[in-house]
Symmetry: C2
Subunit: 327 residues, 2 copies
Amino acid sequence: MTTPTLVTLEDIRAAARRLHGGIVRTPLVPAQWGDPARPLWIKPESLQVIGAFKVRGALNAVGRIDESVRSRGVVAYSSGNHAQAVAYAAATFGITAQIVMPRETPDIKVRKTRAYGAEVVLCDAGQRETVAAELVERTGATLVPPFDHPDVIAGQGTIGLEIAEDLPDVANVLVPVSGGGLASGIGTAVKALCPRAQIFGVEPELAADTAAGLQAGHRVSMPVADRNRTIADGLRSEPSALTFAHLQQVLSGVLTVTEDEIRSAVRELTFKAQLVSEPSGAVALAAYRRHPLPPGPTVIILSGGNVEPALLRDILFDQSAAEDQRH
Amino acid sequence: MTTPTLVTLEDIRAAARRLHGGIVRTPLVPAQWGDPARPLWIKPESLQVIGAFKVRGALNAVGRIDESVRSRGVVAYSSGNHAQAVAYAAATFGITAQIVMPRETPDIKVRKTRAYGAEVVLCDAGQRETVAAELVERTGATLVPPFDHPDVIAGQGTIGLEIAEDLPDVANVLVPVSGGGLASGIGTAVKALCPRAQIFGVEPELAADTAAGLQAGHRVSMPVADRNRTIADGLRSEPSALTFAHLQQVLSGVLTVTEDEIRSAVRELTFKAQLVSEPSGAVALAAYRRHPLPPGPTVIILSGGNVEPALLRDILFDQSAAEDQRH
């Protein structure tokens, strides 16, 4: 087994130059209601164009494709934020995008992706990768993977540059982990610029494959049916060899959170920070609340805010009364 | 009647230097779902420390008080965002704050203000100004008014500097108007730096005293019982002579919106922009949706996000079904 080549600070700085003006330079929002020993700052990537950080990696990856190749378009498979991110990036570069989605994808996600001008290709469950590969073969388009690519990791890493610039004495950065591209990129940038900072991944207890993997020293797979139990639908993927190698390098550990803690964190973000979060976007706050962290300024990544209205209603209002009574 | 001295661009630039590092430098959030002829940008002041823009004016005004005087503390009367803004500013400077509130103020607002270390002085309805004046007389503290002061206007104006810096070709800026400090400051800065931009005030139809006043050429007062009908509880004040003089100078007009349009805009901000808005904070989006504007890049000010959970639930979920059926 060969060790993959890791993304460098210079790769991430090049990505930042490429993205400049094309993304929202999100602020660090101070949360006065945090633990005074660990002043809390929120990085609201929910404010990006498509409502999630994914647009950084997609824009960088599409921007890095050689122009003569890029003109043939891009392909992605995703039913989540990556679909919209690639659709948006393709529109930015004036090229076609074909996004492969399972037939059972909620109609609203299909429509949102089409709204950016992408063609949505519906397929049977479990066939996404095969169908995408066929499209690439047939059209000469380039596949943009959701996390398993250095350019995607470098794009997400620009968040880390911004944190280091805005809060150079940051002590802890808490990052949701699914495929691991976000934590790989942020961790690489922050560890290079703020060597004393600690980067913690965060996973739902129900999809804690990376927590298990880092402990074991190698990737550990969980059955997809198990991972699919969590309400955090953006955190059901597992790292690739490439992202896992980064995570081994940059993470001080992975913190896990329960489903109730995730719901509670969504409520806290809504009512105290005025920020709408999808469940996956709230796990870092949940971990901040649950786990004892080293003292010092702490940043949580709010990775995205795309949540169905019915689910938001359920989390904000239907559960809260019951839980308040329990506690 | 003498013409008041107006705040200048230089006053606002001085305020920006004073506030640097003490406030959130809010981004312009692009809203892809706007009218393509009037690309829509949101300035989310809901992300400020106290959840509203008021902290800018309060920090600037408290910072401008001579240090020997400032040490005697500050006084304010408010049951809204200004109360928390002055409490926060006083804490920042390490001085005492006494905030006068009517006895019927919701307990949650009293507690939030106390949480910043301020002393809350409850009084009978209609007695706020008298009680505040007595406190000033007795203690030598300085009164920080919510809008009727050049330093408060200059502080709010720093939002305009940021807009001009981020979007120099802005065509329209839509600003909620109550006492008029926010629109006075933003208008002064943007008109100075982007002379072709037009600044529009926005009011609820139920509290459209400034719309009437600008048309009449002098301030027009509406009975407070009438103004209190709007759900936008932050927009029930009327301009002072000082702010009205600014508004006459900088506004191209005042746009009005209905209560249903305000509720609809709160939903749009929540579900499309991932931003929680109080009703007063959503009127600029409501006006963008309702009124034909000159073409070109358009900024709406989301002035604040402090909304009671029960009211938010009502706006987001209880009304939407009924209204969707109506339309």
